[in-house]
């Protein structure tokens, strides 16, 4: 174990030379579960660590604020319970069943999914690296996986207001495919069911179940049929307890249960990890003029319309059937509270180099989701008593590659292999940490670790370091850059900035939020308690509005948060929970971390099919 001195100062200056005790070596002790000796940090964590944010340190059990505590729930038992039917969750489930078939064992595996069907909440760029799928289901091509558009070109542009400057592409996308991840996940779901996995879409895991020894023994699904005021409706149904000997949380980025677990068991501290940092991705799928369509064409842009201080960019991928995925990603540590990522996206589509693709086309679907940008530095210890966290809930997205599906799948597979060992051979779940660190996930993320943090110094230094990394260093430097402030702390007060005037939607290339939202097929049972909870109901009007000019009314890509004048002409926050896209931006970016995203009644939310 290497020990380093820290030259970190107490102030908020971002000293990149804090040499971390986390190394590539794999000789981590795997014996004691309470391995707090793991991190040999000499100076206490900076104030920016998300450890100190109230959300993650909560040791209060998950709130059950509405009636029904007294009524007993049905309890169903499985060997393994997986929360989330996404790439990680399904890969874990499939791998478990494969191991069962191989070794003649039998484990019952249940996957609960809050979306109305498998794939309904899956949205991603997506240029897919088939590395993990090749390991999991090598016959995927013969089995007609919806992966059939190989990358044919790879362009990278720096945009100014009127020009597009071509830069050498930093990506190596040869051998990768342009896909719809939602479709691929649906296919994975079918494969899982063929192998005997039980998948239950429409059931939202809303609480973790613990035994008397603080060990996780499963999850509880939402009560359904509760009215807005908390009373039981005619069709009230008590939730059920789905118990598992092992529980795998695969909820995707900023998973609501995963965040609670990370806080309860101090998993960031345990893993020597920094806080997680995030970006918000907003995406549309268009059907365009076939003359402009080049299947497999991949384009990324940087620069306009974002300024030098805001990290982000766009993507434009050509799928098949004249469909393209076009989207915009904005890092959530932006400083200007008047920033509106949705409007930046709409503005971007008008760029003279971009609009020709879209002219004559129609939008098929719209959606948004946050993604992890913390990379290597932010991976928490992913094992807790009774289970593990896999996929983006832990955070294995490779930021410079902008790919996370392959590492999510691999993490699910590794967790499955360890889980199988735990249930059949008495192994320790902590082996998962070791397995991760011995895998190509670690290798890849370690090499990619400095790209994103370098942009803390601005666009040009960031690009410069990217170039250096890419051509020369390739991850072989002795230092690991730190992240800047936590996203929610990075927002400046409104008085330091001026409002941004965004152009009005033209209805052809750009659209207003309600029009876009309609294309996401989002729906929630209207008469239910709002799933977006305010920890302190007074903060929106006393802090968010006066100090930060209500950033939630701008970063939410679904217009959930609106300030409306009441009868005394006072602006009050109105929460249109029914619009929610489950992107989690509010949970991440709210300056006082006052907004808590909890899971609504199962089956609600967006209905992505080609995202």
């Amino acid at each position: 174990m290497l020990k380093f001195c820290s030259i970190f100062s107490k102030s908020k200056s971002k000293n990149p030379f804090l040499l971390r005790s986390r190394t590539k070596s794999t000789s981590r002790s795997q014996s004691s579960p309470a391995a707090y000796t793991f991190s040999r940090r000499i100076f206490p964590y900076s104030k920016h660590s998300s450890l100190l944010a109230p959300a993650s340190l909560s040791r209060v059990p998950p709130s059950r604020s509405f009636a029904t505590d007294s009524e007993a729930r049905d309890s169903i038992e499985y060997d393994v319970v997986v929360v989330g039917a996404g790439p990680a969750g399904l890969s874990a489930a499939i791998r478990l069943k494969q191991l069962c078939h191989q070794k003649g064992a039998d484990l019952s595996v249940c996957v609960v999914e809050k979306g109305a069907e498998v794939g309904a909440h899956i949205i991603s760029g997506n240029v897919f690296e088939p590395r993990a799928l090749d390991e999991l289901l090598p016959q995927w091509k013969q089995e007609e996986a919806p992966i059939n558009t190989p990358v044919s070109s790879d362009k990278f542009w720096f945009l100014t207001k009127n020009r597009a400057i071509s830069l050498p592409s930093p990506f190596h996308n040869k051998g990768n495919y342009v896909i719809s991840l939602s479709q691929l996940v649906r296919w994975l779901g079918a494969k899982a069911e063929e192998l005997g996995v039980e998948i239950y879409p429409g059931f939202a895991a809303s609480e973790i179940l613990y035994d008397a020894n603080n060990k996780v023994i499963g999850i509880g699904t939402n009560d359904m049929g509760i009215a807005k005021d908390g009373s039981k409706k005619e069709k009230f149904q008590r939730g059920v307890e789905v118990k598992g000997r092992i529980t795998l949380l695969a909820e995707g980025c900023r998973g609501s249960l995963s965040e609670k677990i990370i806080g309860r068991y101090n998993l960031r501290e345990k893993g020597g990890a920094e806080h997680q940092t995030y970006a918000l991705g907003i995406k549309e799928v268009w059907e365009i003029d076939e003359r402009k369509h080049q299947p497999g064409a991949v384009l990324h842009t940087l620069g306009w319309p974002l300024d030098h201080k805001t990290y982000g960019g766009s993507f434009l991928y050509h799928m098949k059937d004249n469909q393209i995925s076009i989207g915009f990603v904005v890092a959530l540590n932006y400083q200007n509270p008047f920033m509106n990522p949705y409007e930046e996206f709409q503005k971007f589509k008008h760029h003279p180099a971009i609009r020709p693709y879209l002219e004559g086309g129609t939008v098929i679907q719209y959606g948004a989701r946050t993604l992890n940008e913390g990379g290597f530095q932010s991976i928490p210890y992913p094992v807790f008593p009774g289970g593990a966290i896999i996929g983006c809930s832990a955070g294995f997205l490779n930021v410079p590659k902008i790919k996370g599906a392959h590492t999510a799948m691999k993490s699910g597979m590794l967790a499955a292999e360890v889980t199988f060992g735990v249930l059949n051979e008495g192994l320790d779940m902590d082996m998962y940490w070791k397995a991760l660190r011995n895998s190509w996930i670690w290798d890849e993320l370690y090499k990619a670790r400095n790209y994103r943090p370098a942009f803390e110094y601005g666009l040009i230094p960031g690009l410069a370091l990217s170039g250096l990394e890419h051509y020369l260093l390739r991850g072989k430097h002795p230092f690991t850059l730190k992240h800047g402030k936590a996203d929610h702390e990075a927002t400046n007060a409104a008085q330091l900035h001026s409002p941004i005037q965004y152009p009005k939607a033209d209805g052809v290339l750009s659209f207003d939020v309600p029009t876009s939202l309609h294309r996401s097929n989002t729906n929630h049972e209207h008469d239910q308690p709002p799933h977006l909870r305010l920890r302190d109901p007074k903060i929106p009007e006393t802090v968010n509005l006066p100090v930060y000019a209500a950033p939630e009314s701008r970063y939410c890509p679904a217009r959930v948060y609106e300030y409306v004048a009441d009868e005394h002409n006072q602006l009050k926050l109105q929460i249109n929970a029914q619009n929610c896209l489950h992107c989690k931006a509010c949970d991440i970016k709210d300056p006082k971390q006052n907004i808590e995203w909890t899971v609504p009644e199962g089956g609600g939310g967006p209905g992505y099919s080609v995202m």
């Binding site: 049905d74 169903i76 109305a116 069907e117 309904a120 479709q183 039980e198 239950y200 059931f203 699904t221 359904m224 049929g225 409706k233 005619e234 069709k235 149904q237 059920v240 789905v242 059907e287 098929i364 309609h518 294309r519 097929n521 989002t522 729906n523 209905g607 099919s609 080609v610």
Partner: protein, 251 residues
């Protein structure tokens, strides 16, 4: 007393519909499908009758390709006792469905058939009425309230009609189609979904039921409705009358 409920698999009501580029129909590939909301209400009513002791068995019937089995399983998860799947990949119009149901009635002999008033994909509002006609049974359509009297073998149905509510009394066996306000369908719970896996589903084909799927209808073209035009502010009553007379031509 046995109740038969007909359920249909349609595009989910929350999905934004798109017309296919060749105008032959709407896009159904990669689109979420679920049970027709009115069929859910129909099934819920049948289940309530069984739970109050008025009926002994609820049989759910669906027709279409093999994917319809998902919808049938949802029906079984809600509480139906048995399922019947009539397997057909051709387009089934209301008359075909009505004929198949009539022939199924000869096999199953239910005392009551409950259907949704219409399907949200074609909005035909015909099947229930056709079934009643073919079987020569009384019908209570657009039901907003249903009261079954088991001894008298009668059912009293409040119907939502244009003028208000019409109450009819039908002698069993009868056909009822359900309207929105009849009830709020229950959720299928996780334990019930699991139990549904082992409930029996009987399979038929239209040929086995002596129904020929021959269509007298041909869909010529499907287009989106015209985009709604923006409203126009008129400056005077005279201008309004002029526009109504000469532009809208309604007076």
């Amino acid at each position: 007393m046995k109740i038969m409920v007909a359920i249909k698999r349609v595009i989910d009501y929350a999905v934004k519909i798109r017309v296919k580029p060749d105008k032959s129909g709407v896009v159904t590939q990669n689109v979420k499908m679920s049970m027709n909301p009115f069929c859910e209400i129909a099934l819920e009513e049948a289940l309530r009758m069984r739970e109050s002791g008025l009926a002994s068995e609820v049989v759910a019937v669906t027709m279409g390709p093999s994917q319809c089995l998902d919808t049938l399983r949802t029906g079984l998860a809600m509480g139906a006792d048995r399922g019947i799947h009539v397997d057909s990949t051709s387009a089934l119009h209301p008359l075909h469905v009505a004929k198949i149901l009539r022939n199924l009635v000869q096999i199953e002999k239910p005392s009551l058939i409950i259907l949704g008033k219409q399907a949200i994909d074609d909005d035909c509002n015909q099947t229930g009425q056709m079934v009643a006609g073919l079987l020569n049974w009384p019908q209570g359509t657009f039901a907003s309230k249903v009261v079954l009297d088991k001894e008298k073998e009668e059912v009293t149905v409040d119907r939502e009609v244009d003028d208000g509510i019409e109450t009819v009394q039908l002698k069993l066996p009868a056909v009822i189609t359900t309207d929105l306000r009849l009830n709020q369908p229950r959720y299928a719970t996780l334990p019930n979904i699991m139990k549904a896996k082992s409930k029996p589903i009987k399979k038929f084909t239209p040929q086995e039921l002596n129904v020929e799927i021959k269509s007298d209808l041909e869909i010529v073209e499907v287009t989106e409705p015209p985009k709604r035009k923006a409203g126009v502010m008129v400056s005077s009553v005279d201008e309004l009358i002029d526009k109504l007379k000469n532009e809208a031509r309604v007076i």
